[in-house]
Amino acid sequence: MTDLEHPSLAPPVSSVGIVGWMRQNLFSTPLNAGLTLLAVGLIYFLLVPLFEWAVWNADWRGSDQSDCTSGGACWVFIRARLDLFIYGFFPTSEYWRVDVVFALLAVLIVPQFFDRFPRKGWIGLFTLIGFPIIVYFLMMGGSFGLEPVETGKWGGLILTLVLAFVGIVAALPIGIVLALGRRSTMPVIRTICICFIELWRGVPLISVLFMASVMLPLFLPEGVNFDKLLRALIGIVLFQSAYMAEVIRGGLQAIPKGQYEAARALGLGYWKSMSLIILPQALKLVIPGVVNTFIALFKDTTLVLIIGLLDILASVQSAIVDPAWRNVSTEGYLFAAFSFWVFCFSISRYSQALERKLQTGYSR
């Protein structure tokens, strides 16, 4: 018997490599080919001028309007006003305090990206509880020999971060209580929680902020007054805790009934069975949901400019209308958009990775 083994032929050029990939993914049908050409044309007519404007013809160096002569983007504007966008009106001599906050935040966040970082959980807990206290003393000043800085001077990126961070840290415990209350067997407690949650979820954040800035002073007894930042924070926390409660309720509902029954069978009371059995499982389930809520909150912090706080968008807006610069609105908005995009996109990617990781933990 003769061995009739032929060496296998190489696949045709048209089905492998770049040509094959293009045939399969770009030109598989006449319709697809047409769509591809349309898309290429659109991208060409949109991206090429954009690239020319933003990179090729742009002005990068200089210090004021007179350095923007080439007709492209005037990035000089961003460079010149960067301090305003990051620190707001914080006194220049005290910038280091804000820098310390940024550095501390970075140091505390990094371990969360590693799978097996020692004491990762404790660091996370410290980020949520200890860190805000440090930031409070550092930013407010007035103690430990630091010069006091009134909150009216806070602004830019640091204000946005403070609003988002306090919003999420304060809303989490309130949300847990509300979610437990909504699933309570006690009718009064359940009704109060349902009304609270649905009220805040049914109205836009702007009206809540308006309420916090216009109505809150009316509610307080004479002589008691909060500053503007605290009022905005109260509004944000009330609003956010309602959304957080719904996210956590989803987690509570996902815990099988057997877990509740097992906890009772062990003789645990309500608080013990919740804090030892149910909540640890439920909270782990809702981490992606909490992160998504955080992204939404991060974007929503821009609304505080309507009640007169100077967050990053408001500081960009104020720099744009400054008569020392002309026609820089596109550059300013692109800068602000890019800052938000970097934060939100990376957090959302982190949340997706987390979701995948937690999912494998639950598949049996």
């Binding site: 349902i194 009304c195 009206s207 009316l218 400019l305 596109t330």
Partner: protein, 414 residues
């Protein structure tokens, strides 16, 4: 506020009634001390919670009354009858400075409903197109859709509204150099000018034909479905429907001698006159709301379509269904079940987000009523309460409507 308290009361009443009907727990023969009895505890706890809440609201109420008295603000809704004395940029109902504050409420409300309604329709259409494009087997189209989604949903909506309003629409040329589209539409920094239709005698016949055609189509669909169930014969419902709804009014329009004139906008000394005008605030808000919400809807649509397993497509093919019926009868009905609930919350978000109008001065409810009217009258409690009640009502209406629709298409398990 009164209505919220009323609703709370009703819910509370029903809840307590239900809890009283619950069968009593069996504690066995063992006697429990009253402070360890869960029933006693729960009653006491609820009582304390109720008292605390009542005291909280009472304090707030007293403080508010005292504060308002000190500021010389009278409580009550009498201010709604006073003359407003300020103009509003855009109004769907007749309005000028001499109308009342109550009228400003309705002007704002209608403007909110207008932008939210258009936004919901446009965002749904664009969102569905992009969601399907995201799943296209054309690599370039899928990636372009992905870039659109990832860019737009990670940038704050307010920033997008500012961008379209200040950086794009305000930068358009003045009316003298406005951009003309075929000499019919004119776009400049004062807005988009378009010809407005003027119906002449006989145009009502066209409208009536349209109404009759719609009723006819509804009847036709029922008849066709019944006939198919009985005999198995299909009827080209879609084509006949299109012919009825588009063709019949057009025919009547032609027969009555085209009774419709157009009022074209024309350039006068400083700006355009005649025709209709879409103010830039409305355009920027609508555009930003649509683009932003469409990115979220696209993700929802993609998840919904992907949730239908491939086995369903194969099963439909095995039954002999062609491409279009597979999509229409098998894939879309199943994916809608996954799509509808999150889509509802996107509609709610869009409606609530339309309140960002106040940042660029589009006269919506928040901007007109909670902004200008509140500043002029100082009636904070009444105005904020009314505004919140409106948004709560809109939210409840949309979610009721969508829940009913959801129930209709929900899986009926046998």
């Amino acid at each position: 506020m009164v209505s919220i308290a009323g609703i709370t009361g009703v819910i509370l009443f029903l809840e307590i009634r239900d809890s009283l009907y619950m069968p009593p727990a069996d504690h066995g023969s063992q006697k429990v001390a009253p402070w360890n009895d869960p029933k006693v505890r729960s009653v006491v706890f609820q009582f304390v919670a109720l008292i605390t809440l009542g005291y909280f609201f009472y304090t707030i109420f007293q403080n508010t009354l005292a504060n308002m008295e000190r500021r010389g603000i009278t409580t009550g809704f009498a201010f709604l009858g006073n003359e407003a004395g300020f103009g509003i940029l855009m109004s769907l109902i007749p309005y000028d400075e001499t109308y009342t504050y109550g009228r400003t409420f309705f002007v704002g409300l209608l403007n909110t409903v207008l932008v939210a309604g258009f936004g919901i329709v446009l965002a749904t259409v664009i969102g569905f197109i992009i969601g399907v494009a995201r799943l296209s087997n054309n690599w370039l189209i899928a990636k372009a859709a992905m870039v659109y989604i990832e860019v737009l949903r990670n940038i704050p909506l307010l920033l997008q509204i500012f961008f379209w309003y200040f950086a794009v629409l305000q930068a358009l040329p003045s009316p003298r150099q406005s951009i003309a589209f075929g000499g019919i539409f004119h776009l400049n920094n004062r807005g988009l000018y378009f010809p407005s239709p003027i119906p002449e005698a006989g145009f009502s016949y066209v409208i009536w034909t349209l109404v009759v055609a719609v009723i006819g189509v509804i009847w036709l669909r029922r008849w066709a479905r019944r006939r198919q169930e009985i005999t198995g014969q299909q009827f080209p419902v879609v084509w006949v429907s299109i012919a009825l709804i588009v063709g019949a009014p057009l025919l009547v329009f032609a027969l009555t001698g085209a009774p419709l004139a157009w009022d074209h906008p024309s350039l006068q000394r400083f700006s355009f006159g005649g025709g209709g005008r879409m103010i830039p605030e409305f355009m920027a808000l609508l555009w930003a709301l649509t683009m932003y919400t469409a990115a979220f809807i696209a993700e929802i649509v993609r998840a919904g379509i992907q949730s239908v397993s491939h086995g369903q497509t194969e099963a439909a093919r095995a039954l002999g269904l062609r491409n279009s019926p597979t999509l229409r009868l098998v894939i879309i009905p199943q994916s809608l079940r996954v799509i509808i609930p999150p889509l509802t919350s996107q509609y709610l978000n869009l409606t609530k987000n339309s309140s960002l109008a106040t940042a660029i001065g589009y006269p919506d409810l928040v901007s007109v009523f909670m902004g200008t009217t509140l500043n002029q009258t100082g009636q904070a409690v009444e105005i904020v309460g009314m505004t919140m009640a409106v948004y709560l009502t809109i939210s409840l209406l949309i979610s009721m409507f969508m829940n009913a629709y959801n129930k209709k298409i929900a899986l009926t398990e046998r």
